[in-house]
Symmetry: C3
Subunit: 355 residues, 3 copies
């Protein structure tokens, strides 16, 4: 009898070039959108209101980009990170076709790199994941690397290969998924500040804080079908390093994005994920704050209606972000910092919108 | 650079006659309806079943009136009550066009009154808020007044103006949004008791109690996009007066309404909010009970199928409602009372329905 | 004035042959499906993806069978088990017409047996419940028996009658609700193991554990409109036997089913509930594990595409299931066992599917 219970993959199970088609495709519905709303509380107008969305050229309210990210990510967990010790980083994430309720997402990954760590017990696995819809269009592709234990510490290490990863998705590859026009109401969007109003180097304290609870966190992970064990099992975690269930890193990304509305109201869509680090573990009971820095203001080639902003959004726990906590002089992250997220958003340019 | 983060309004920022168009319109979906169901557990048949709803003249199951209230209210928070110390009262609330999944709600408010309080540090702001759908039809309009701090205690007080507010929405202004007929099944509705069976002065103990948890309360507020800070941030609240996050007053209204099914099974829709007070703060861990008193039995002019009942529903915490806790002899509320809600519901009249 | 608040039924209120039409029909929506997903985290592909479902002959993704069970069950609580001391067992549960979002479910029960218990204070009530859709088609019918207190311990006992209940739903009565074919992708289903690969006597440890929280449990009960008081009221329960709110037994069934994906990936639908016992109470904070045993491999008459597996799935609390905890030598359940569930699932047969 073959083994029917999936034990997840260990470092030795990966090979460069390996293709992983992930299980459990997922039809996104208005129900998922509502629950995501209840869990994170976003207020960006294009996802909130069909009227605003149609005024910007969408068929209807699009599914939040980060919900798409979590759903694609969730598919990959059983094959890539079920046994992972840590989710080390993201790069080259690019959103493609708009996702609407009713679309069915599936995902596949290619192993793009492997490197055993110096202690010989673990290794880093690099994958590039592509999420597609029911028409085979790419909705999101991104690189991720994770720290995975070896099954057998004595196993010979693979030839090390670390893929080259760009610092950021170039402007020419950003998809302009919408078109601000007269139907874009600035009062309804929540702010008159448009692309030209944000300057590189500018920092914004998003002010508010949200305390995390176990129940809502597990509900989010189950919604995403993210089955990583550390999120769910207090019976096991109580005797492990932290004594508690660990919050999914992506949960922090969505909380920080929802908080960032207050200051980035017109940053309606996420176009790219350039990089991201979960710099400290987070637990239920922690209160999350966020601040952002404008890294770059990027014109979109041939597009005079939308501009891109490359942002760093930093999330902290149990520390307000008024003084922009980040790294110490030695370059290490402040212990309050839980997320360092580098991404690109789209915003209307001045003179293109109503309101 | 202008200020991009919304600090909310202070007392000096309001002027009588000022018009506030609120941000973030909101398309209501079946997902919102399901999550609202999971949060409050209502059992009124017209919102629960499309079959019952169509039998009463609706196109499909209508969105719960109180979900409409919360969604309209949620729009107003950033402009009206982000800095509010207390939500003091409601009046003249009248539900209009039925809301169905797919409708997009937006809201605007007019400042109708201002009065500085005697300590000179705060003031009361009166607003009339109108929620409209994507066709511009009013779905709900109501008055609300809130206690708001002054930014600068030394600022000169405005000319005091307190609007005249009716005690109750008159019968002629109640919208008969449905038509009980043969398709209205009394067994499915859950009770044979109709409009004529309720007498002014009658009191009903709704018996059951529901304990509130932080997670579901924050999920509700995020669903409504109600961003008032006191609901979300334990890191700040732990050092403030109550040491805990404060439950949104409207949450109590929905819990009390859901509890009131047991005794008011045919009170299918809320037609008016005549008044409401949040008389004591509520916290996670509190168990909520409710009782109701019939204040008035109101015929609807020219309508022999539906009648209105004006009700007072009182919610208590950690005290069963069997003895109808309310006010002491000195007129002050019993410390267990957290909500005193005066509203008008519609119920079928005898002889009009099947079952 | 008649009594308007439903006190629930006591043992004396039931009579053999009595028909109970239950209140509050319920239209199932995509919102309910999403919230159910967030609460339990199932990964079976036919319910997750419209593409997979259509490839197996469904119109679209069907509603999870156990969500149908909970919704039908929820209707019956006010009439059958509002005052119940314990939910003793299920039998002869058979799923009928597929339920899709948009269908409206209603339920009716017949009292099929009554037996006073030896202490004279309680009695066992047997009911057969039928859930139907808006076309009158049966979606689920099952027997259940509950322990109900007498209102008056001195009341004369009824003539005892215990209905005959089959051990299992026979193969000829199982409805083959889908048709695996080329559109059924085994990689997307999550496993190559099909009906022929499971042998009677085989045991599967589903490995993972999920910790229960109060908030998500109450949300589930409210979604199902299951109003049994012991689930909601900490103010009362703190002074009762367990000092805590009690988890709804059906909640464990859904958790165990979701856990069972890991090992039973192609067991896409539940066709019958042969029996079930809630063997120990469960509380928030408990971590649930599950293991399954294949009881029987049942060919479906005239169907060479689908086969049935009769399974026992056992859920435990705060104890991993690696050693299949069940009963001691004296036949009593291990204290860690909270659910003993006997049911029949459908799985594709070899040679019928793509992938």
């Amino acid at each position: 009898m073959t083994r029917k219970v999936d034990p997840g993959n260990y470092f030795e199970d990966f090979a460069v070039g390996q293709e992983l088609r992930h299980a459990t495709p997922r039809t996104v519905t208005e129900g998922d959108v509502a629950l995501y709303q209840g869990l994170f509380g976003s207020r960006f107008a294009l996802q909130s209101a069909a009227t605003m969305a149609r005024g910007a050229g969408f068929e209807r309210a699009p599914v939040d980009d980060l919900l798409v990210f979590h759903l694609v990510f969730g598919r990959t967990v059983p094959d890539v990170s079920l046994n992972a010790i840590a989710n080390l980083g993201y790069a080259q994430g690019r959103f493609g076709a708009t996702v609407y309720p009713g679309d069915t997402l599936q995902a596949a990954s290619t192993v793009t790199g492997l490197r055993e760590t110096s202690n010989g017990k673990t290794g880093i696995v690099y994958v590039r994941t592509t999420g597609t819809n029911q028409r085979g269009e790419t909705v999101l592709a991104y690189d991720r690397w994770v720290l995975v234990p070896k099954r057998d510490a004595g196993a010979a290490p693979p030839e090390p290969l670390v893929p080259e990863l760009a610092d950021a998705v170039p402007a020419g590859e950003l998809r302009a998924s919408w078109t601000p026009g007269d139907g874009y109401d600035l009062v309804h969007a929540g702010s008159p500040h448009l692309w030209e109003d944000y300057a590189p180097g500018e920092r914004i304290d998003h002010v508010d804080g949200i305390t995390i609870e176990e129940s809502e966190h597990m509900t989010a992970c189950r919604l995403f079908q993210n089955t990583a064990r550390v999120h769910f099992n207090q019976h096991v975690e109580k005797d492990r390093r932290f004594g508690r269930r660990i919050i999914y890193g992506g949960y922090l990304i969505s909380l920080a994005r929802a908080l960032s509305f207050n200051g980035l109201q017109n940053a309606q869509t996420v176009s790219a994920i350039n990089g991201g680090r979960h710099t400290n573990p987070t637990f239920a009971g922690d209160t999350i704050y966020a601040w952002s820095e404008v890294l770059e203001r990027i014109p979109l080639p041939g597009n005079d209606r939308l501009g891109a902003l490359r942002l760093r959004t930093v999330a902290t726990k149990d520390r307000a972000a008024a003084d922009y906590p980040y790294k110490g002089e030695d370059g290490t992250y402040d212990p309050s910092v839980v997320l360092d997220f580098d991404y690109t958003v789209l915003m209307p340019r001045r003179g293109t919108v109503g309101g």
